[in-house]
Assembly symmetry: C2
């Protein structure tokens, strides 16, 4: 399974589509980002992908962790997000209350 690499210039909706596709195929996806802007794009993408997958009754959770990566011979600290599917009944009640993708998610997607 390939790691989905996100940069500061990645479109969050495009990354969201990639995440949703990998999750549908593999039930797990790994996303990697280096730097604050890329991490922000990655999080937006995960939030949007959550909405896409919810429409199919698929609930996802994620865990962020630090990892060292080699970028053209230099060691950089990246954030890696592991995302996987869970039974929707395992979600906290506060998340069930926002179970329908909101207009906010759509708006944030537009302003990518």
């Amino acid at each position: 399974m390939e790691i989905i690499k996100v940069s500061a210039r990645s479109r969050s909706t495009a990354v969201a589509g990639a995440i949703a596709g990998v999750i549908r195929d593999w039930r797990q996806a790994d996303v990697q980002a280096i730097g604050a802007s890329a991490v922000n794009q990655a999080i937006k993408a995960i939030a949007i992908a959550r909405g896409y997958l919810q429409e199919d009754g698929i609930a996802i959770v994620c865990v962020p962790l630090f990892t060292e990566v080699d970028i053209e011979g230099a060691e950089r600290t990246a954030v890696r997000f592991t995302i996987w599917t869970v039974d929707p009944s395992a979600l906290p009640d506060s998340l069930l209350a926002v179970a329908i993708p909101s207009q906010n998610e759509m708006r944030a997607a537009l302003f990518d």
Copy 2:
């Protein structure tokens, strides 16, 4: 339960300590961030908190979503992270392989 608000100037280790404390007491924590730098600090804090809690055998997962908040009368889109505890056996194998808080997490914490 209070929402833990993270700004671009928040120290990620301090936020991590707050998250770990709330998780220990309530098994769930909510974190809110507005803007790329604040989102990045929040994610670093969650990654560090994951390490802290793992030492106590507590596994956490999170879900990011968009939410509208009122900041001094203006509507802003924030990212809210809901974090909660899961049975460690529910984690994907790839996360069990990095079960011990790594030096990277410690290093990232130092460079806050």
